[in-house]
Symmetry: C2
Subunit: 159 residues, 2 copies
Amino acid sequence: MGNNRVSKTKNIGVEPPSSTAEIGELDTILGLHIRRVHGAVQRHFGEHFGELGLTQKQISVLWLVGNHPGIAQTDIAQKLDMDRATAMTLVHALEKRGLMCRTPSESDRRRIAFELTLQGEALLAQAKAAITEHEAWLTGRFTAHELKQLRTLLARIYR
Amino acid sequence: MGNNRVSKTKNIGVEPPSSTAEIGELDTILGLHIRRVHGAVQRHFGEHFGELGLTQKQISVLWLVGNHPGIAQTDIAQKLDMDRATAMTLVHALEKRGLMCRTPSESDRRRIAFELTLQGEALLAQAKAAITEHEAWLTGRFTAHELKQLRTLLARIYR
DNA sequence: TATTGTTATACTCTATAACTATA
DNA sequence: TATAGTTATAGAGTATAACAATA
């Protein structure tokens, strides 16, 4: 098994590290561009703001809860394009760290209202500073006009 | 613990599902746009082409190896912006499924040359068709000019 | 010393399915 | 029946650290 090779013996070990980017047809694929960009952004944030102890995803949850005290898990999931169970994981971790707390709703006892704790507010403030810096790195390469274009074009993909 | 709430009792359970998108300042963050777009693309591919049994990442590895028979893991990693260990995981899984095979290089015995198997070639052909369809869904919402703009702007982030 | 492949390990994000309580 | 939260489970992707073989 594993021996039904398709092109017998060409270029064995002769692949020159091929300078930089030249992936052939692959280069045409917009989806690949998007994944690479996503990866680059993710990587930059982790490398520069990892000490914060929060991922971008976690920050967006804290941010959202900070803007909407009393919000429920379902709404968090819906607003950030997540599954209910995925939101649970996020929320639970943040709760366990004492950054958010819960109060059962009285009008609808199925729902649970979430708010930031004082600690959560404090860390969110730091996180916002980090995000601001990170955004400067990300957006600094564009003019205001290009930035507007980019936002408009990207928004058309998921809205 | 968990009782040091910050805003005593406002909006408990009164959060109206808030129609659609309105995340406040969060909406300004380009990084968030990128993550949402990435998620949407990922989701669409999985939902429509999951039966193929290949992820977009796996396809890009097969595609790359197909274009560069004899390529080594390090080069795959470098060309697709991955860690060596991450590439290992990908490559190993594809190998185990009989889609790629290896031949130790003779000129440099540290390197291993990878090629697609016949099975790999066949599946890649199917995958390319899927990607083409997926790309049509993705790019169909843009004019040719917008598409060029978008590609140019995105490329500026990781190049 | 540097590079290639490897293994072990770990964490984040994601989702599905099934369950409980409530509406 | 439908919704909110929960739990168990799984898989993809990512990375770090340490090791062996080779250059």
